[in-house]
Every structure is written in structure tokens, then in C-alpha cells.
Symmetry: C2
Subunit: 403 residues, 2 copies
């Protein structure tokens, strides 16, 4: 087994970008610079595609000043890819890794990227290639198993919370029904973060629908009707991946595009919001109904960053390199929340296979019994991850006596 | 004619909210507190609807601390409305104004709200009601005549610039065609602001379509094809109001909902983006095509604020009260840019009718000859309005020599 071997390091980014994914890249690179066993520090452009094409950049030559500025820049600085390597790919990859004497390999991404890392790791064992192979977590969806939460989530959750906070103020001024479609195929964490926008009594979102709970259009209309009749307005947050009782996504009736990991393309279409809005208009006879699909803005918006998230993203990159240089052969770095009242985390290694492929869902106690809201447990969980939200205020509203 | 009369003041907000519309409210209220002729300082809830329903709050009782916090809170704190008063409404309104001895009236809004203010002002003259009547400008669309720019635009433009900046980084990482639909019925100012996201060579948006230039789907596809073939990706910013050669909005084929000012409801639907994306997919055979409709997020997002915009929004509220208390009977406050290299503005009064109803369009020299981009003149115009954008960086990318 590999133990403290000397050679070059290769790092790459994969899957959907986040606002803090470059923190992980830079955390790993700056840590690597401290270790004599790591010689060249290379970046592969566009994930595994860069290995197949031998398209590497020398990150060791970048100045710390540049790296620190890149760390604060959204989206994957090395480029990204959604590609599951085939057996043929693996053959090429190991030829390339050997040719460039890559002995430390780090892949930053979500569960699909963990799967890719795992495939490479398993293949390395098979062909007897001696290297350190680590997966570094990232995903705004917050759906990696073994993790309390994932780098990228806090900042995306902050974006969603801010967006809904503004939307709630907008909707108070011009009342009506407003639907917000939030990213999340199978996990409702990001959609649920909209509830952090609740500051004053009566604030939206008034209804929240996550993919973990079967979505019924009839029940939905009943919910909206009840809120609207009571308050004269209604703000809804719904995941793009809300599904019917059979697990069929509501939106999948409209699109069938899939990627190489078999995921249906849900984002970047207003179809779900428009569908829900139309049903409310026609069946509840409410005239002012609007829908926004937050889309790609959620994951790369510069300036809307959770400080906690940025620090943790840096730390997981660092932790992976520390583990590898300490002699650990492989693994995925996970974030574990420390028990106690004060928020704190630690970074632990788990087998890559434990985070690969399958996704994590919202725990049952995060979703209300009715399936149309979150619980206090979710709020307590999510609050420390997004940081202090912008302060908003209300007039005290002293009524003028009618004459 | 009214000159330095003593009585109560009424202020209201109307039309689409902005991130800085409360700055104007607070600017006016704090200024009013300084003038002895202004007795009660009342706010009408939900624009003119509050007058019809005698639904007023006493803003004079609010503390400066509360008011300053409200100033920094997005969206209309008094609530808003889209309502053009009928003759019947006007009769009721003047009875109410008299009953509450309202001698100073301020209406914060866009061109439709200016129209409402103008109707009230004209009617006041007819019925011989003695009051000061002012329109205070606001609109993210930046389409008020007589104004260099309008409060609300700078912050919304900042949101759009940031969104496109993030989107460009996202699209560099995962290349494809990306369409961003930006608010703007008749004016392309907000869409054009996406170009402020260009920091490094090759940065998007690569194509920009404003309502001022006739939109041809064929020409659009040719443009996208050319950019995509050259660079392997393409970011597009298009106004929701892009129209064909006959002035028919492309999107109006899909929706017919209108408000009482006769405006077609364009926002809050992904239909235009989806339509354009589908045409690119089917006709150009490009597989990764995505569309986002920025929707309502553009106008009320907390924390994404241009400092210049916030200050100017406060100042126009202040200016209106100063004019009125100085004895000027009526008017609309406009922002005029001072000539010279350093950015600076002054606030001038014009007749309300001059900003009411019709909207302002992008000057011809802001749009490129081909109609698919902006000019340097636009960039120079818009840059000082949005403030310093978040800093982003790129790796220097030192290639590793192939072996």
C-alpha cells in the first residue's frame, strides 16, 4: 500500500460549480506547497477530460496572491465536466497518470464526482497503480452522504434565503401568489433554506415543498387557497425535483434530457413554475400569480457568500492533502458537526464509496407532518451555515385615526 | 396658487418595488420633519388605494433609527399598487385629501405613477384644491423621460451585472449556450447592464438584445451559431420585451394578462427563455442550452445595492420636499448628470406631464449597429451607476508541457 510516496499531484473540479469551489482548490494547493513529497502541483482542465487530453496547468507556479483571489472567485477555475469514465477512459487515464508520475490525486465534486473518484481508485488497485486518491466534497444540493453539510450549500442557501427575503418584501407590497422554484433534484435542503427569510410574523415562504415528500397538485391547490384566503397573499418555495407519489418528477413530463450519470436536466426551464402558476390561476381564480425559477443564479452569484461556507470549503481541500501526505491512501473528506451549543465542525475521512452515487435526503424531522413546511429542527440546522443575513426593518406603523 | 401653505403631508409608493425605494420615502420624511409648515407626516398604504380607503399611517411618529433601517430595506415599506385613478376615484381622493387637510402630496413611482400624480394634480387645479403635488422618480427599468437615470436602476443593474458575471464563470466551467432573460418591456437599459460583467477577454455576455432593436429569430440563430462556433460557448442577455419588426413582443404570443395601465405581464414566466433555448437546440443542434429568467429577483434582492443609487434615491425624496416647502406647487424631480470627467448629478424639477405615460428608450448610440451588443458609450454611461463590482480573478494558467 502507498505510504508517503513522492511524486506529482493532480487536482481537478467536476460537476456543477459553486461560489466556494475554488476555496477547496486553493486550500489543497496551498497545503500541498508545504509538503516536500509533493513535487509538481498540476491542475487538470475540465475534470477527467483534462486527464484524457493531457491538458494540465502548473498550479505550483501560481503566486499565493493570485490563488487567494481565485479562491474568492465563484465557479470552477479549472473548468468542470459531467463525465463518468468508461473502462476505456480508465485505461487512458492510468497511462497518463503514470506518464506524469501523478501520485496524489484530488477530485472536487458531488456524489457523481465521488463515483468517478471511486472508479479511478478501484481501477488503480486493480492495475496496481500506487497513488493517493481523494474526493473533496462540494455541492449546493447538500446531498452527500456522511456529511452534516457540504461546501457550497451554505452560500447557495444564503442566496436562496436572500432572494426569498426580497421576494417576501416585494409580495407584501404587491400582494398575490408567488412561486419560487429552487434547485434540488432529490434533496430539499436548498428549497428549505428559503424559510430562513422569515424575519417578521406573517413573512413568507408560507408553503415549502421538497422532493422528499410526495407532491399532490390537488393538495397543493388546497394549501395555496387556505393561505391566500387567510392572508391575501402566498409565497411558495418548491424544489425543481418535486415528484408525485410514484416518484415521477412533476417536471419530467416536460423534458427528457439526461447527462451521462443518468440525471434528468431540470434547471434552466420555467416550465414547472409556469405549470403551477397556471393551475392556481385557472382553478383558484386568483389573478396575480407569478413564478420565478432561481436557476443557475443560485450557484455562482459573486458577493453572496457565507463566510462559514468559504472557510469550510478551504478546509476540506486542506484536509484532503494533509491526509494524503500523512500516508492515508484514499478517502473522501466529510464535514461532521460537533455536538454542543456553539457551532463547530471537524473533518473526517471516510471511504469514497460511502459518499459516491446515492444521495442524501432531508431527515424526516426536517419536514413538517403535512409536507408543506420545514420544522424548527431544520432552521436550527441551517442557520449557522448561511451566516448573518442582511438586516431588514419594518415601519412601526402608527395608524392615523379615520375621520 | 399655493405658496408655502401649512397643512399635512401624504406620501405613497406605487408600481414595481426597488431595493432603494424606501430611501426616497425616508429622504422625504426626514426632510419634512425639518419644516414647520408641514404638520402631520402621513403615509398612504398601497399607493392611491390607501387614500380611497383612508388607510394612513403616521410617519411623523417613527423614530429616525427605524426610518434609517427601513431606508436600507428593499421594496415599498408602505405597500404598492398598480392603479390608474378613474374620475370617480379622483372625486373620492379630493374629499379625503381635504378631510385630512393634505397640503403636501408625494408619489414615488415610475411613468405610470407619474401619470397618476399628474391626473391628481390636474384634477386639483380643476376643483381648485390648493396643494403641493410632487412625483418622486423610481424604476429599475431606467425608462423615465427627462432623467439621466432613475433611482432603482443602479442597484438592479448591479444585480444583473453580478448575475451575468457569475453566469459567465459558470459557463466557462461548463460550456454551452446560456440565455438570460432580463426585465425591460420597452427599454433595454437593464439587459444592457449585463455587459458590465465583462472583466477578462472572452467574457460574456457575447450577445445582447434590447427591445429598441427589432428582434429576428433567424438573425439571432445566426449570431449564436457564429459565437458558438468560434468560442465553444455563448452567453446571451435578452430583454423580456424583445419585439419583432412590427413591434409585437416575442413573448406576447404566450401571455395576454395586462394591468390597468395596459401593460402586458411579461415577467415571472420562463416562456421566452424556453422558446429561444428550444430553437437553438433544434436548429443549431447544440446539446447544452440553458435559459434563466431573472424575474423578480432583480428588483428586491437585499444586500445587492449600489451605494450611488441608494444615496440618489434618498436625495430625490429630499429634493421633492425641499421644492414643495420652498413654495413650488408641483413637479417631478429628475436626475441630471453634470458634465465633466468626474461623476456627479443634480436634481431638477420638471413638469410632471413630461415624465408621465411615455417611456424613455436607450439612445441609438448605446446599441451596436448590428443590434446584438451595446457600445462603449453605454458602458461609460452605466459604470458609475452600479458601483464597484465584486472582484474576480483567473489563474495565470501556466501549461504543463505534454509528454
Amino acid at each position: 500500500m502507498a505510504e508517503k510516496i513522492t511524486g506529482n499531484m493532480l487536482i481537478a473540479q467536476s460537476g456543477g460549480p459553486t461560489v466556494v469551489i475554488n476555496q477547496s482548490l486553493v486550500g489543497a494547493v496551498l497545503e500541498a506547497k508545504k509538503h516536500a513529497r509533493i513535487k509538481g502541483i498540476y491542475g487538470s482542465l475540465f475534470g477527467v477530460r483534462g486527464i484524457l487530453e493531457e491538458n494540465f496547468v502548473d498550479l505550483g507556479k501560481e503566486t499565493t496572491a493570485t490563488l487567494m483571489r481565485v479562491a474568492r472567485t465563484p465557479s470552477s477555475a479549472l473548468g468542470s465536466v459531467r463525465r463518468k469514465p468508461s473502462e476505456e477512459d480508465c485505461d487512458i487515464i492510468f497511462t497518463v497518470l503514470q506518464k506524469y508520475d501523478i501520485r496524489y490525486f484530488f477530485y472536487i465534486g458531488g456524489n457523481d464526482s465521488a463515483e468517478t473518484t471511486n472508479i479511478l481508485n478501484e481501477n488503480a488497485r486493480k492495475v496496481g497503480y500506487d497513488f493517493h486518491c481523494f474526493h473533496i466534497p462540494k455541492t449546493i444540493d447538500n446531498d452527500l452522504r456522511e456529511n452534516d453539510h457540504t461546501p457550497g450549500y451554505g452560500s447557495a442557501a444564503r442566496f436562496v434565503a436572500c432572494a426569498v427575503m426580497g421576494d417576501n418584501l416585494d409580495n407584501r407590497a404587491l400582494p398575490g401568489v408567488k412561486i419560487n422554484i429552487v434547485m434540488g433534484r432529490h434533496a430539499g435542503f436548498l428549497t428549505a433554506a428559503g424559510t430562513l427569510a422569515r424575519i417578521f410574523p406573517g413573512d413568507g415562504p408560507h408553503l415549502v415543498y421538497c422532493p422528499e415528500h410526495p407532491f399532490s397538485l390537488e393538495r397543493f391547490l388546497t394549501d395555496v387557497d387556505a393561505v391566500y384566503k387567510k392572508t391575501g397573499r402566498c409565497i411558495i418555495c418548491a424544489s425543481e425535483g418535486i415528484s408525485d407519489g410514484k416518484g415521477e418528477p412533476i417536471i419530467s413530463r416536460y423534458t427528457r434530457e439526461t447527462d451521462s450519470h443518468g440525471n434528468i436536466q431540470l434547471s434552466g426551464s420555467g416550465a414547472l413554475g409556469d405549470l403551477l402558476a397556471t393551475r392556481i390561476k385557472t382553478e383558484l381564480k386568483i389573478s396575480r400569480v407569478r413564478a420565478d425559477t432561481f436557476g443557475y443564479l443560485q450557484r455562482s452569484f459573486p458577493g453572496v457568500v457565507s463566510e462559514v461556507d468559504a472557510c469550510e470549503a478551504f478546509a476540506v481541500g486542506q484536509a484532503a492533502v494533509r491526509q494524503a501526505t500523512a500516508g492515508v491512501r484514499d478517502g473522501s473528506i466529510t464535514i461532521v458537526r460537533k455536538p454542543g451549543k456553539t457551532y463547530g465542525v471537524e473533518y473526517r475521512r471516510v471511504d469514497i464509496s460511502k459518499v459516491a452515487r446515492q444521495t442524501r435526503h432531508m431527515p424526516g424531522d426536517f419536514i413538517s407532518k403535512e409536507g408543506n413546511d420545514v420544522t424548527e429542527a431544520f432552521i436550527a440546522y441551517a442557520k449557522p451555515l448561511v451566516g448573518k443575513l442582511p438586516e431588514i426593518a419594518q415601519l412601526k406603523t402608527f395608524p392615523v385615526r379615520k375621520k
